[in-house]
Amino acid sequence: MLLTREQVDHVGMLARLELDEEEREKSMRELNQILEHFEKLAELDTTGVPPTSHAIPRTNVLRDDTPKPSLDRGKVLANAPESADGCFRVPRVVET
């Protein structure tokens, strides 16, 4: 067993995902299944092998810093579950 109950809870917290009892159990089982499958790769010597993050590398794509119209605020906020005064509205974040 690679992953414990406590680790599953910790990962759930990191992912901001509330899991109920059944989901925790299932999650632990499935994660361990995949991770065990992955363990086979440990046999593979990758010393000195560079990692590939993108198949076809493209770095530093630059463009002129020219101001352009951005998305219409009204259209963007139209999708928000709650908005006020041209902003997204969320529960209080800072204690007063």
Binding site: H37, A55, R58
Partner: protein, 487 residues
């Protein structure tokens, strides 16, 4: 045969000669959707009204003497992870229900400019995570060849729509095989272009280093014509490549003389149905008979592609899906809670099981102390997989393999066995790892269900892939067989 079963390049001629109007064509497809949709269930959102308006506009333009160009007036379906301005885009997830994007994906803009008519938004596995559409948050699409079977996935709604005549062509997205595997299950043509060939702007991100949009069509000619419209640099996607886009139509020559075809033995191993291996070897015989050189070769690290994929894709997904937090769009929990509770409960309520599972897996693989063991290790093995391809392409122009180890499986058959489900993509994932173009096209039947032939090419060499596919298609009749939905 109805208009709905004809490829776009044939319909283009009928529109040009005014034998049919775009209105007639659109009505034929919409009627077909009415007839078969209750059984097939390809669409999450239908756009009948908008399609009729688009059709009228196209007819006006044709009447004014405008020449009919490829895909002008052609009814097309869009996978529902492609943003469409003002039209609900759900990714088949409860968390995005009701989301109406404020902009169009670049591919949608390009298709609009080409004059395509949009029939609707198609079903998928939630956020494209799956191989059967059974992970859709809404419903499971059925395979038009056998309604008790899955259409494949994740672009199963798009491939079923094309296979059932509910659209002339469609767009899908392919992260680990999500265009090619369902194309093979539904007996249609599906292509994943080179990573970066088609702009991903407006494609709801799953795994950004793997995702690629591509065409799903009735034949290879349509695939080439559609790719020509989609491909090309886009300043809105910094990973899109700025290499010139060839006229893919020029590669549609029924000749493969002198071409060297590699056949990696790893793709014919355990788990691949014998009838499928046999069908692919028969196809290779056809290509050899036409003058191609066919030789067995080896890409030894291909067998590691699956575990590598199941670290890299969830890792990227866990980061990409962090944005669904109930603040900017989509679902928000109704519970009265603080900000962290809002995130946690919104995500608990909005995401389905498979998505949560992959977010958990990816978060763990990227978390402090585990990054080197998982993500970094996977990225290094990814290099080995890519190097195998580089080596093979020194010797061969294309590689030919089966698309999927099995034909379409039954609904429910693999939904409780995640590993079996994932094996369905074992032959398509390697091309994503290396960013290579790959196509699936029909190459026979097993138990009445279509078999797919996969052709993988060098980076940016979609042309040669299309040429081999076209030559094979012209030499065979498989693509002419259509699903019989009268039963």
């Amino acid at each position: 045969m109805g208009l709905f079963n004809q490829p776009a390049h044939e319909l283009q001629k009928l529109l040009q000669s005014k034998e049919i109007s775009c209105r007639e064509l659109t009505e034929a497809v919409l009627t077909r959707v009415d007839d078969v949709e209750p059984r097939v269930q390809s669409y999450i959102t239908r756009l009948d009204h908008e399609a009729r308006q688009q059709a009228e506009e196209i007819d006006r333009r044709i009447a004014q003497g405008e020449p009919v160009t490829p895909f002008m007036g052609i009814p097309v379906a869009l996978k529902d992870n492609l943003c469409t301005e003002g039209v609900e885009t759900t990714c088949a997830s409860g968390i995005l229900r009701g989301f109406r994007p404020p902009y169009d994906a670049t591919v949608v803009t390009r298709l609009k400019e080409a004059g395509a008519v949009f029939v609707g938004k198609t079903n998928l596995d939630e956020f494209a995570m799956g191989s059967s559409t059974e992970n859709s948050g809404f419903f499971t699409t059925r395979n038009p060849w056998d309604l008790s079977r899955v259409p494949g996935g994740s672009s199963g709604g798009s491939t079923a729509a094309v296979g059932a005549g509910e659209a002339i062509a469609a767009l899908g997205s392919d992260t680990g095989g999500s265009i090619r595997q369902p194309a093979s299950f539904c007996g249609v043509v599906g292509m994943k272009p080179t990573y970066g060939r088609v702009s991903r702007y407006g494609l709801v991100a799953f795994a950004s280093s793997l995702d690629q949009i591509g065409p799903i069509t009735q034949d290879v000619t349509d695939c080439a014509l559609l790719l020509r419209i989609l491909a090309g640099n886009d300043p809105m996607d910094s990973t899109s490549l700025d290499h010139p886009v060839p006229d893919y139509g020029e590669f549609l020559r029924p000749e493969v003389g002198g071409l060297r075809i590699g056949v990696p033995t790893e793709y014919f191993g355990e788990g691949v149905q014998e009838e499928i291996s046999h069908a692919v070897r028969t196809a290779l015989g056809v290509l050899e008979g036409m003058g191609a050189t066919v030789e067995e070769c080896s890409t030894p690290h291909a067998e590691h592609a699956l575990p590598v994929y199941y670290i890299i894709a969830p890792a990227e997904a866990s980061s990409n899906l962090a944005r669904y937090d109930g603040v900017q769009y989509g679902h928000r929990t109704a519970e009265d809670t603080d900000i962290v509770g809002l995130y946690q409960k919104t995500r608990k309520e909005g995401f389905g099981h498979e998505v949560k599972h992959r977010i958990m897996l990816g978060t763990y693989a990227l978390s402090s102390g585990y990054y080197d063991a998982y993500y970094l290790k996977a990225s290094k093995v990814r290099t080995l997989i890519k190097q195998d391809f580089d080596k093979a392409f020194e010797k061969y122009d294309v590689l030919v393999t089966p698309t999927s180890p099995t034909v379409a499986f039954s609904i429910g058959e693999k939904s409780d066995d995640p590993l079996q489900m994932k094996l369905s993509d074992v032959l398509t994932i390697p091309a994503n790892m290396a960013g290579l173009p790959g196509i699936s096209l029909p190459t026979g039947f097993h138990e009445g269900l279509p078999i797919g032939l996969q052709i993988i090419g060098r980076p940016l060499d979609e042309g040669t892939v299309l040429q081999v596919a076209y030559a094979y298609e012209q030499a065979t009749e498989w693509h002419r067989r259509k699903a019989d939905l009268r039963l």
